[in-house]
């Protein structure tokens, strides 16, 4: 056996480990989830009662599913335009030196552990959101249902906004890369027919790389869906009916924060651990769908 064959076999083995891991994780998740689905039926997915107390057991993950969707949606809504602006500035406007240092800064944001974002969100950012966003909105538009709950700074809006900050590095750096791939000929062509910089960006860069940008957004969404610690610290951690997203300012919970919060103390002889594993299964499914979507779009663009 020569070096090539050894190396081929080794990398094949390592590569198959990742596939095997995913398969094993899926098998175990399904196996643990089945008992709770047997007990609750389809209600597990569409009701909102969450009661682990012995003799009163009911599990429905609807509020946490909706909470995950809502916070991720806010994150994309707020985070994507900012990331897009960053990427456009870096590729189209800034000079080389500025670009180099700004890119390093943004990549550093991605390296901050999520629990640090959570602590900062809890002690600093939360008060900022409360005083400058939530209170004014509540005072002026309190009649509208989404602004109706008394603001505390620990709610879906805070969770979504902290996620928005956390997805900026990945969305902006992927967007930057696809914008850089736009061929110079296209840009020069637009200039040649009398276009200005705005025309180049709108009709050249953006139109040429729209699939890539969509992929970047989905990658950001993937991160937002699975994020746990930071969200859990600012979302208020309500459970059951109380956690349904009735207002932007009401406390709720996401699938991942629910698991992180309750798994340690879940009674092993009840269905509570099973219900939590089920939440994990739903979360994994959401993450797989979003990530596969992102990959598919990015790949299509590359070809």
């Amino acid at each position: 056996m020569n070096e090539d064959e050894v190396f081929y076999l080794f990398s094949l083995a390592v590569a198959s480990i990742s596939l095997l891991l995913l398969a094993l994780i899926l098998v175990v998740l399904v196996q643990y989830t089945l008992p709770v689905i047997k007990e609750m039926g389809f209600d597990y997915f569409i009701t909102s009662s969450w009661n682990p107390v012995f003799g009163k057991e009911r599990y429905g993950i609807l509020p946490y599913f909706l909470g995950t969707v809502l916070t991720s949606f806010i994150a994309v809504l707020v985070g994507v335009p900012i990331s897009f602006g960053i990427a456009l500035f870096l590729t189209e406007y800034s000079n080389k030196t500025l670009k180099k240092y700004l890119s390093i800064m943004i990549d550093l944001l991605a390296a901050i552990p999520s629990v640090i974002y959570g602590l900062w969100g809890f002690f600093v950012f939360r008060n900022f959101i409360l005083d400058y966003i939530e209170k004014p909105l509540h005072n002026y538009f309190g009649k509208i249902s989404i602004f109706s709950a008394t603001p505390t700074g620990l709610d879906f809006l805070s969770g979504g906004l902290i996620l928005a900050i956390m997805i900026i590095p990945i969305v902006s750096s992927v967007t930057r890369e696809v914008l850089e791939l736009v061929p110079t000929e296209i840009k020069e062509g637009i200039y040649a027919i009398g276009g200005n910089r705005y025309d180049v960006i709108v009709y050249g860069s953006i139109r040429y790389s729209k699939n890539g940008i969509l992929g970047a957004i989905l990658l950001g969404l993937g991160r937002a869906v699975g994020e746990t610690m930071a969200v859990s610290m600012v979302i208020g951690n309500a459970t059951g009916e109380n956690a349904l997203p009735r207002s932007l300012f009401s406390a709720g919970q996401t699938l991942s924060s629910l698991i992180a919060n309750e798994f340690n103390e879940a009674n092993p002889t009840s269905l509570h651990p099973n219900a939590l594993v089920g939440a994990g299964l739903v979360l994994l499914m959401m993450a797989i769908v979003v990530n596969l979507g992102a990959r598919a779009i990015v790949n299509k663009y590359k070809r």
Partner: protein, 367 residues
């Protein structure tokens, strides 16, 4: 560039593997000289058990107590699976758990209390509360500090006309178990609607992670109220309410008041190998008994030879350690914010520890 083949790198790979092998062997050989006793469970008692384990090391250097604070639920799971030598839980095992953990012995090893902490700016006095009022606040039925039911408990204090911000633990915890146990005892609506458990379906409020999370939320949010364990409140100088007990007196959780709750109920406690499911120290009788009090339990099997990897020497060491915990070990409680067991409970524990056997032979001498 010169290409280096695997063969040339082989010596360094071999050296590296050898180092790992030596380290692995070291790890395997090491425990044969020192015994490791594994325990896992409650985070609430972690500071106490880790203090015990370091103090006991001075008495018996040949053994290490390895305690992992993974939460009571996790501790019970590992105990039932016989992965650990002892478990620690803030709640006693329930009926289902007793069935799968046959031959379990409950050893209450310390006392804890839960306090109601609050943030009322400009009010420096200790406020008075009753269990019924606390339950209605947590049910969302009393929503303002100026509610008549609160003001009539606190003559002379001008309660602000502000909304109460209710704070509870977000994650499952023994503290929540004790708190909801108390509310279920004093309020029937709470009992039927919510019940007691390490995590419950909260009708209202914000969830914060850990005692430190609840405490810092209370500090940050004006007009809030939350429950935290006494040891944490003492360490951080939080203000907490006096609560009306069965006798009708408003009491604060001073160590003597907590102890009284346990000693007054000592006569009705079960034997170590019986079910402790219905043991509850909340709302205990006694003129000065503080009403939100509980035991924390160490769980061991009566027949230790059932555990894999257990031998007679290890079993003896474990029993000696437990004996030390409920006697000399109690001296370390107060400084860490726990309350020492009253003598009546220590006597019950002595009897329980004497029941522990290895292959049918009792491990404690005839003392």
């Amino acid at each position: 560039m010169k290409r280096r083949s695997i063969a040339k790198k082989l010596p360094s790979y071999l050296l590296f593997s050898l180092l790992i092998l030596v380290y692995a062997l070291y790890l395997v050989i090491l425990p044969s000289s020192t015994l490791v006793i594994n325990g896992a469970g409650s985070t609430f008692v972690y500071p106490l058990i880790s203090k015990w384990s370091s103090e006991y090391r001075k008495i018996d250097p040949s053994m290490i107590i390895n305690y992992q604070s993974i939460g009571s639920g996790g501790g019970i799971r590992l105990f039932i699976n016989k992965t650990v030598d002892f478990g620690a839980s803030d709640a006693p095992l329930n009926k289902q758990q007793m069935e799968v953990a046959k031959g379990v012995i409950h050893i209450p090893e310390t006392l804890g209390a839960v306090v109601m902490s609050y943030n009322l700016p400009n009010i420096n006095l200790i406020i008075n509360l009753t269990g019924e009022v606390i339950a209605d606040i947590y049910l969302g039925k009393i929503t303002r500090w100026s509610d008549k039911r609160i003001t009539e408990l606190n003559p002379g204090i001008k309660m602000p006309d502000e909304k109460i911000v209710v704070i509870h633990r977000a994650e499952g915890s023994g503290t929540t178990y004790v708190f909801t146990d108390y509310l279920s005892r004093v309020n029937n609506e709470w009992k039927s609607l919510v019940g007691r458990g390490t995590s419950v379906q909260w009708p209202t409020g914000l969830g914060a992670v850990g005692s430190e999370g609840v405490a810092s939320l209370i500090n940050q949010i004006k007009f809030s109220i939350g429950y935290i364990e006494l040891s944490y409140a003492l360490q951080t100088n939080m203000t907490y309410a006096a609560i009306r007990n069965q006798y009708g007196k408003f009491v604060i959780p001073a160590p003597e008041n907590v102890k009284q709750a346990a000693s007054n109920l000592a006569r009705s406690l079960p034997k170590g190998n019986e079910s402790w499911e219905n043991v509850s120290l909340v709302d205990a009788p006694g003129e000065n008994a503080y009403p939100i009090v509980s035991f924390s339990y160490i769980l061991v099997y009566e027949e230790l030879s059932l555990l894999p990897g257990m031998n007679e020497r290890k079993a003896k060491d474990l029993v000696n350690f437990l004996w030390w915990c409920v006697h000399e070990g109690q001296n370390y409680s107060l400084s860490l914010g726990y309350v020492p067991l009253p003598p009546e409970v220590v006597r019950i524990n002595e009897e329980s520890i004497r029941m522990i056997k290895f292959k049918g032979i009792s491990l404690m001498g005839g003392d």
